[in-house]
Symmetry: D2
Subunit: 284 residues, 4 copies
C-alpha cells in the first residue's frame, strides 16, 4: 500500500475540507491523519493530511497529478505532496562543537530519524574523525573573508551533487550566505543557544548569566537573512540558579540544544510544518 | 450569528469527514475549528467541530434536528450538540480545604471560566464563609456511616433543582456514591494530589516523601466507581528535592492542584473532551 | 524557643564559616539551616542561616546585639537579622486586573503566605469591591500627569502609617516613582508578563504572538529605575502553539503570572533572597 | 593546587559545622563549596564540602589521614574523601537498545563526563560494533537460566580487573544478581522507563498508554534487591496526548531516558550524592 502526506495552504474559503475529503474518497484513499488550521488574522487555511491508497489503480503519482489539475487549481492552493516511503536527504553543517553532531549521528544510527545523511560539511577539519567514525562523507570548505563566494559555490555544488533536501546547522559558526538561503528557503534549520528573542547573536549564555535569569533556553528555527529572526520551530528551557556558573549554563544548554534540534529535524523530515508570515504551523 | 460545538464518535468508516463537511456546507455553516482523531486499536473515529451559522434561516436547533435525522443516523454516530452561547452549570463539592475553592471562585469572579456556579455543597460547615464572601448558595449535607442514602438523595435533589450539568470535587474528602456517578457519568471531575497511577488513595504526599521521589504531581480525572481509576483529564508536576519536607510537598502540591483542576474545568466546560475506554480525547 | 534567620554577605575570606558557626555554638543556638554561596567573579561571600535558641538566657535581641559587635564587625559584614515569629507587612498595588489580586488574597486567606496585608493601594476604584470582600483597607490614589508628586507623597505616607515592609505590584499599570524605589530598595516586587529579557515593556503577549514563539513566560523581579531591568526573582513558562490566539496567550499567561508572583512573595517574606549586582541569590 | 571533595554523614550534634570548618582552616584549605542538610525525622546530618589546599605542606592524603583520626572519630562520622583530580571508572552494561549507549559515548567523547570507561559488558553481541566504533573493550557474557552463577562470576572478575568504581545499566535487560549488588552497593545506576513508582517492571510505556496518562517519565535510581525500588536519583517527564501511539511514547521516552541517565552519571561521578533510608541527598 502506498502512503502520502499532503500539505496545503490557501485563502480560507467555504467548502475546502469537503472538497479535499471528497477527492480522497474518489481516489479510494483512507485518511489516517487530518488536521487543519485557520489563521484568522490573515484568513489563511492550512491543512495536513496523511493518506493510504487502498486500491492499486491509484498511485501517489497519479493522485498527485489528479489533485494538481482539479481542486488544487480550483481553490488556488499552494501544496506539497510527499511520498512517505522516500526518506529526505539531510546535510549537516558543523564547525567545532561535537555535542549536536554526536547526538544526531547517534539517533541516526539508532534508526530514530527518518532521513538519509549523505554528507557533512564543515569550515574546519576538527570533526572529520567523528564523520569517519560513522562512515559519512566529510567535506572541508574553509571560509575566510576573501573566499566567501568560492566557499558558497562549493557548498551549493556539493548539496546539488548529493541531492540534499534540507540542511541542519549543528552549531555551525558561520553566517549562511543569502544565495544558499534563497536556494533552501525554509529548509535550513539552525539551533540557537538561547530562548529567542532573548539573547540573539553571540555568547547568549554569557549574557543570560550576566542578566541573572532563572531559566535558560534553546531555539530551533529556519534560517532567514535576518540573523536569529527566522520562523521558530521549537524551544525548550532548563532551570538555573545562582549556584550555576557560565560553564554550568553551557553544559545544561548542551542538553537543550541536542533535544530541541533533534525535535526540529523530526518535525521537518516528517513534513509536519508549514511556514507563513515568519511563523511555523506545526501539526503534531 | 449563532455558534455551536459538535462532538462525534463512531466506528471509523470511509467518507465520514466528507459527509460531515458537506453537511456543514449545506446548512451554510462556517467551520471555525475541526479536529479529528482515530483510535486505531479500536477503530473508533472522533471529531470535534466548531461552527458559526452564517444564514439566519439555519438555527442551532434546526441544524441539530437536521443532523440527527441524516448523517448521524447514516453513520450510527454518538454525538453531542452544544449551543456555544449557553454556559454550563457547575456545582462545587468541598470539605475543609480552602485553596482549590478560593482559586475556582477567584477565576470565576475574574470571568476566566465559562460556567455558572449555582451552588456549593459540603459535608462540613467550615467553608460556608467563603461561599458567602462570593455570594454563592452553600448547602451543608453531612455524611455519616448511617445517613449515606439520605445524603446522596439530598445531593441529587439539589443538583436537579439547580439544573447542574457537571460537578467539581474541589478536594472533597468523601467517596461519591454509585448512584450519583451513574447520573453524572463523565461529568464529575476530581483532583487527586498525586501523579496517578502513582500513589492512589490517601496521603499521597506522605507516600511520595517516603519513597524519595524527585517530582510530585497532581491529576484531574473523571470519577468512576474505581477509586482514582477514572479517565485522566490533565496532569502536571513540580520538582522536589531532599531539602523539602512533607509540608513543602503539600505546599507545592497545592499549586499543582489549583492549576490542574482549573484546566480540567476549562476543558470540560468548553466541550473539548470525549471519553472512551477509560481515556480522554482532548481537543486543544 | 525563639527562632531567627540571619543573612550575611561580605568579601570572601578564610574562616568566615568557622567564625559564624563558632558564634552560634557560643550562644547555644541550634543551626536548622545553613547555606552559603561564593560569587567567584566578585569574590563575595553569601550565607543564610536559620537558628533556634535552645537556652532562654539568649534572646534574638541579645544574639543580634552580640553578633553586630563581634564577628559582623571583624569581617565587615553586611547582614540582616530577622525574628522568625514576626510576619512582614506587605502592601499590594493594583490597577484593574483581578487575577493576581484574587490569587494573593485567596492564598493569604488560606494561610499560605507568612505575611500581613494591612492595605491595598490602587490608581483606580475598580477593585475596591474585592478588597472589601476580603476585609482589607483599600486606598484610591489616582495618578495623572499633573499630580505625580502628590500621589507619590500620599503613597509613602500610607506605607509608613501602616509600617509596610515590602510592596507587591499585582499587575499595577503605573510607573513607580524613583523616590519610592529608593525608600523600598529591593523591596518592591513586580510581575512582568513575559520571559525577560524577551519582550520588556508594553503588550508582551502581542509581541510574543507576532514573533511566533513556542513558549511564553512570566518573570517576577525587584523594581529598579530601569523598567523591567531589575534583579530577577523567579521565572516560569508555558507551551503555546500555532492554534493559540493572543487571547489564549493572555489566558495561559495569567496562570504563570499568578504562580510566579506568589513564589516571589513567599521567597521574599521568608527571607530567602539576597541581591547583588542586579541579581538574586535565592536560598531554597 | 590539590582539590578534594568530602562527604560526611553522622548523627546530628551541636558544633559539627564549626568543627569541620575549623579543621579546614587548620589545614589551610579554602572552602569552595559547602552544603549541609539535616534529616529531621532521623536526626541525621549530611555535609558536602569541596576544598582546595592552598599550602603544599598539606596534601589530600595527609588531610584525609588527619581528618580520619581527629573529628571523624570525635563525631563518629561516616565519610568519604575524594581526590578531585582522579576520574572514577565506569562500566556500562547493555543488551540491545542503542540509544542510551550512543548518548553516553557521545557525551564521553565530547568530554562532558568526568569518568573513564574501561569496558562495556553485554549479554548479547549486538552492540559490539558501537563499542568498537568508540574504541572501548566489549565483553559478551551471555546469561541463561543455567549459567547465572558463572556469568556473575565473570562479570565480577572483569569489574575487578578493570578497577571499576561504578556501573551504569544503559537499558540492560537482565536482573542484577544479589552478589554484584552487594559488591557495588549504591554504585549501580539503572534507568527505568517510567515515572516510578508508577509502572514498575516490564513494558511501562504500554501500561502508561493503556491507563491514558497525560505525562510519561523516566527514573534513574540505584539498584537494590527489590526491583525498581532503589533510591531515586533523578526523574523527568514529557507530555503526551491522545494523538500519541505507544510507539510515540517509546520515542519520546528515549529522550527522557538519555537525559535522566546522563544526569545521574554526572551526579554520581562528581560525588554529589549520599544515600540514606533508600533515598538520595543530592547536592547541586
Amino acid at each position: 500500500m502506498q502512503h502520502f502526506t499532503l500539505l496545503i495552504h490557501c485563502k480560507d474559503q467555504k467548502g475546502i475540507v469537503a472538497a479535499v475529503t471528497n477527492f480522497i474518497l474518489k481516489v479510494e484513499g483512507n485518511i489516517i491523519y487530518l488536521d487543519q488550521h485557520v489563521v484568522v488574522e490573515q484568513n489563511i487555511f492550512f491543512m495536513r493530511l496523511e493518506c493510504e491508497l487502498t486500491n492499486t489503480t491509484h498511485t501517489v503519482a497519479s493522485v498527485k497529478e489528479d489533485f494538481s489539475t482539479s481542486i488544487a487549481t480550483d481553490f488556488k492552493m499552494s501544496w506539497e505532496f510527499y511520498n512517505k516511503d522516500l526518506k529526505p536527504k539531510m546535510a549537516i553543517f558543523v564547525s567545532k562543537y561535537t555535542h549536536c553532531l554526536y547526538d544526531i549521528l547517534g539517533r541516526y544510527s539508532s534508526g530514530e530519524l527518518n532521513v538519509e545523511i549523505p554528507l557533512i560539511i564543515s569550515n574546519h577539519e576538527d570533526l572529520r574523525p567523528i564523520a569517519e567514525q560513522f562512515n559519512i562523507p566529510f567535506f572541508h570548505i574553509p571560509f575566510t573573508k576573501d573566499n566567501k563566494e568560492e566557499g558558497e559555490k562549493r557548498q551549493i555544488e556539493l548539496l546539488q551533487e548529493f541531492n540534499v533536501n534540507f540542511i541542519v546547522l549543528a552549531r555551525y559558526m558561520q553566517i549562511i550566505t543569502p544565495k544558499l538561503i534563497e536556494l533552501y528557503e525554509n529548509k535550513i534549520i539552525n539551533i540557537h543557544h538561547s530562548f529567542l528573542p532573548a539573547f540573539p547573536g553571540a555568547k547568549p549564555y554569557h549574557s543570560a548569566f550576566k542578566r541573572g535569569v532563572k531559566i535558560i533556553g534553546a531555539t530551533s528555527h529556519y534560517v532567514t537573512e535576518e540573523l536569529d529572526e527566522g520562523p521558530i520551530i521549537d524551544q525548550d528551557i532548563s532551570r538555573v540558579s545562582h549556584v550555576n556558573s557560565v560553564d554550568d549554563f553551557i553544559m545544561k544548554g548542551k542538553d537543550l540544544e541536542r533535544t530541541v534540534l533533534a525535535r526540529a529535524i523530526k518535525l521537518h523530515s516528517e513534513r509536519k510544518m508549514m511556514v507563513y508570515c515568519n511563523k511555523t504551523v506545526v501539526f503534531y
